[in-house]
Amino acid sequence: MRATGGPDIAVGDVLLSVENVSLAFGGVKAVSDVSFDIRKGEIRAIIGPNGAGKTSMLNVINGFYQPQHGRITFKGATRSKMRPYEAAEGGIARTFQNVALFRGMTALDNIMAGRTLKMRKNFVWQLLRHGPALREEVEHRHAVEAIIDFLKIQEIRRTPVGRLPYGLQKRVELGRALAMEPELLLLDEPMAGMNLEEKEDMSRFILDVNDHFGTTIALIEHDMGVVMDLSDRVVVLDHGIKIADGTPDEVRSDQKVIDAYLGVAH
């Protein structure tokens, strides 16, 4: 799987870098002067206590928020302003903290929606549903079925997602993001609200996505155990400031991180 456009970046090279990014809402500073990078092929975690600015950071990366300061370089191209659809076209896909699916549509159609950007025929062709448009749809359906197989959700293919339990909805959302064949996959708390078994399943899928498709993954997560097991490198935010960056072991033993999580006597 390969996203369109941009130079090829070798595994291990910097895919995306964030430099001195600051974001404020009125007087509230969500992110201040944060820099880090994401290397191709790795699983990168962004962690921090509540309100640390993790989701804001993710929203900055995929262009949903415009930072007041700083630069973001993705696949060698630097930008200060980007819109979400541009990010999507560039190969960044994401899932949301609160599941954001089309609840009335089936799991299959939701994942198919992830292919929208890949559809080349215009909507007149698609209305005709013949010739090239049909061929294209068959191709896309094939890709979507591969994802359904990958995520083992065959039995809910035709079920409206609104009727599905939460854990499965999360899986469908991951499926929709995968349908874009992203180069960089942003996961906003993929295990929030899950039970142990669901968490284990999801961890397995994240590792498999990384291994199987070579997708670079940046994830936000609260569950420290999960983060430490899954990720190659971790960046820790607290009150919008980066307080640590490194391998799980380095981060775990960092005094500032321990203080941020456990509190410190003043």
């Binding site: 094939h142 079925e145 197989d149 083992k152 065959q154 039995e155 293919r157 035709r158 498999d208 199987h212």
Partner: protein
């Protein structure tokens, strides 16, 4: 014991070749993959199996070797069976959901050198015990996912084995000749498969079946049920169970019908609907589950639909079975049934995937009479059979038109049955096994000197119908202290017919009175809780809820009343019961892989509860070990309440 199999070839491989000649372009196997039904004809199947067999040979598989087959119903695993048989190796299917230790037992006992497995999960499981399987040389797998980075020195994908075999076969005429000679050398008396029993009574035993006997047995029932190459069956039963190997594999080979493999275990229901099988088998538990699901969904339907549904189910109860058995029915009844078929039964059967079913069987457990009648009344030709792995399934089967819910039919064609002085059923059949693998002692135990096999089931021939009636496992039938007959299964089955009750263990042998440990059905009780605003956080909490106890007590009371009607059983009314805090589970060894209760084990494991049931206490503490699906262990502790029942009056007179 060899008897005429109607001029059929004497090995499965030769049958496969015959099928490729006779029905070359007809479908032999289907499998839903990536949302689309893939089809292989008999011709393609033969070609694939030849290539596979050659590939296996090149990996070092020899005549007489055993090959474990572990996984769900998938074409490549069925081909593994066929390919092994082609070169005279013996396939040993193992239950896919077996935990590592069970797998190890079978693989070690069967001395397998090779294992064909479904996916990474099975590979991991076997690798976790590999150091205790010195004979195991190599695993081959179907699903490549997740296995890319594994060390492949002792691991191959089935696809690559087939490709390798195909290429070499094409290039090397000597190998082709060798393979043809191997096929020709296959003898009818060669073992065709070893099926391990589910082990209701302890460690499982390897039942050795031969080519010619298996084919002879299948030929008899194919004729009995008029199966042909146009039939279709859904292969969704566990591969390692005699039912799947007989009903789908052996009958499919003999009749040349198409076997469809579901996409995965969870989609079997919808795949059933898409395939529309003509031959269907389901254990009573599955039929019960389907009915429960239908009934729960009907509760959510609008008032009008509910009224129509229940009205026409009433009509079906009155006339349905008579119409199915072609007995006389008054014209208004026929008309009403016809209307019901359009409005209710037809659509219902369609939803369940039964529209095209000509012959359906159920077996394995006694089936509730109402449950049985329900399916028959909506026009499903559901029949009962009685069988055993040792018989290669069929011992008795009900012929069309002579169906009773409490019997299992007369002896199958060419099967001999007798009842010994202890009331135990003995049989001699065309398909019967040649012995337990590496266990002549056990073989001798179940064989009588005159060549009959002891089934371990107590039964008798019903005078009215002439059909065999099975009461219980011979060793489970007991007596209360006062001498009253106690047949646990009889009581359990009566209770289990209530959708709210999933499993029951009745106790009473050599006791003062009968007690029961009950498992609620989470689907049914959960839906009831939702409707009645009963709040619960876990299975355990729901099981212990006072309102749930009240509801179950009502069911027990009804069962007591019905037991009181029966002279023989009136003394065996339930005096006390409790609801278990966890579901009985095969992973914990409480059920067999075929979902039968293992009494001895349960009695030991829940002994504090059983003591409390008989010492008059109101509640008891229990802490049990549970095994999670990944093999880890944990404990569940609970305080379980015990409910006292007032036995129905008839029983009091009896007891006095």
């Amino acid at each position: 014991m060899a008897h005429d199999a109607g001029g059929l070839p004497n090995t499965f491989t030769k049958l496969l070749i015959r099928n490729a000649e006779l029905f070359g372009s007809r479908p032999a196997m289907r499998h839903k993959d990536l949302g689309i039904w893939q089809t292989w004809t008999w011709g393609e199947t033969l070609e694939n199996v030849r290539a596979y067999a050659a590939g296996l040979h090149r990996l070092g598989v020899n005549r007489g070797d055993t090959i474990a087959i572990v996984g769900a119903n998938r074409p490549k695993l069925y081909w593994s069976v066929m390919a092994a048989q082609m070169i005279g190796a013996i396939p040993v299917p193992v239950y896919a959901d077996a935990v590592a230790e069970e797998l190890r037992f079978v693989l070690a006992h069967a001395e397998v050198r090779f294992a064909a497995v479904e996916d990474q999960e099975q590979v991991d499981k076997i690798q976790s015990v590999q150091d205790r399987l010195p004979k195991l040389e190599r695993m081959i797998y179907d699903e490549t996912r997740g296995l890319r980075d594994y060390d492949h020195t002792r691991l191959n994908s089935i696809g690559s084995v087939i490709d390798d075999g195909r290429k070499t076969l094409a290039a090397d005429p000597a190998l082709r000749q060798w393979l043809d000679a191997e096929i020709e050398n296959g003898k009818g008396s060669d073992p065709s498969i070893i099926l391990y029993t589910s082990g209701t009574t302890g460690a499982s035993k390897g039942v050795v079946l031969t080519n010619e006997r298996s084919i002879a047995a299948a030929a008899d029932t194919v004729r009995f049920d008029h199966l042909g190459e146009n039939d279709v069956a859904l292969a969704y039963l566990p591969l390692a169970w005699v039912g799947d190997h007989y009903l789908n594999y052996a009958q499919g080979m003999v009749a040349g019908f198409c076997m469809a493999c579901p996409e995965n275990a969870d989609t079997a229901m919808s795949d059933l609907r898409e395939i529309g099988p003509t031959f269907y088998f389901a254990p009573p538990r599955t039929l019960e589950l389907l009915l429960t699901r239908v009934m729960i969904r009907m509760e959510d339907a609008g008032l009008l639909k509910r009224k129509i549904f229940h009205y026409f189910l009433g009509v079906a109860r009155r006339y349905g079975e008579a119409i199915l058995d072609r007995r006389p029915v008054p014209l208004p009844g026929r008309l009403l049934y016809w209307l019901g078929d359009i409005l209710v039964y037809g659509p219902l059967k369609n939803v369940l995937g039964f529209s095209r079913v000509r012959t359906a069987y159920t077996a394995g457990e006694a089936i509730g009479p109402d449950l049985f009648a329900f399916y028959r009344s909506i026009g499903l030709n559901l029949k009962q059979l009685y069988g055993q792995t040792e018989a290669f399934l069929y011992v008795t089967a009900q012929p069309d038109g002579a169906i009773f819910s409490d019997t299992v039919g007369p002896a199958c064609p060419n099967v001999d049955i007798k009842i010994n002085e202890n009331g135990e059923v003995l049989f001699k059949s065309p398909g019967m096994f040649t012995g337990y693998f590496k266990d002549d002692g056990k073989t001798a135990e179940v064989m009588t000197p005159d060549g009959y096999v002891k089934t371990g089931d107590a039964g008798f021939f019903d005078e009215k119908t002439g059909q065999l009636k099975i009461i219980d496992r011979a060793k489970d039938v007991g007596h209360l202290v006062n001498g009253a007959l106690f047949a646990p299964k009889y009581i359990e089955n009566k209770l289990k017919f209530y959708p709210n009750i999933r499993e029951v263990v009745a106790l009473g042998d050599k006791r003062e009175f009968v007690t029961a440990m009950i498992n609620i059905d989470l689907t049914a009780v959960g839906s009831w809780a939702e409707r009645n605003n009963v709040v619960y956080a876990s299975y355990q909490e729901l099981a212990g809820h006072p309102l749930v106890y009240e509801m179950i007590a009502k069911h027990v009371d009804e069962v007591n009343r019905s037991l009181a009607q029966d002279k023989m059983m009136a003394g065996a009314q339930i005096h006390r019961f409790l609801i278990l805090h966890k579901e009985l589970d095969a992973d914990d060894g409480e059920l067999t892989r075929t979902q039968k209760v293992r009494r001895g084990f349960i009695a030991e494991r829940y002994s504090p509860l059983i003591t409390a049931l008989y010492d008059g206490s109101k509640e008891a503490d229990i802490s049990t070990q549970v095994t999670f699906e990944d093999g880890r262990q944990g404990t569940i502790s609970a305080r379980v309440k015990i409910h006292d029942m007032q036995p129905a009056p008839a029983a009091l007179e009896k007891a006095a």
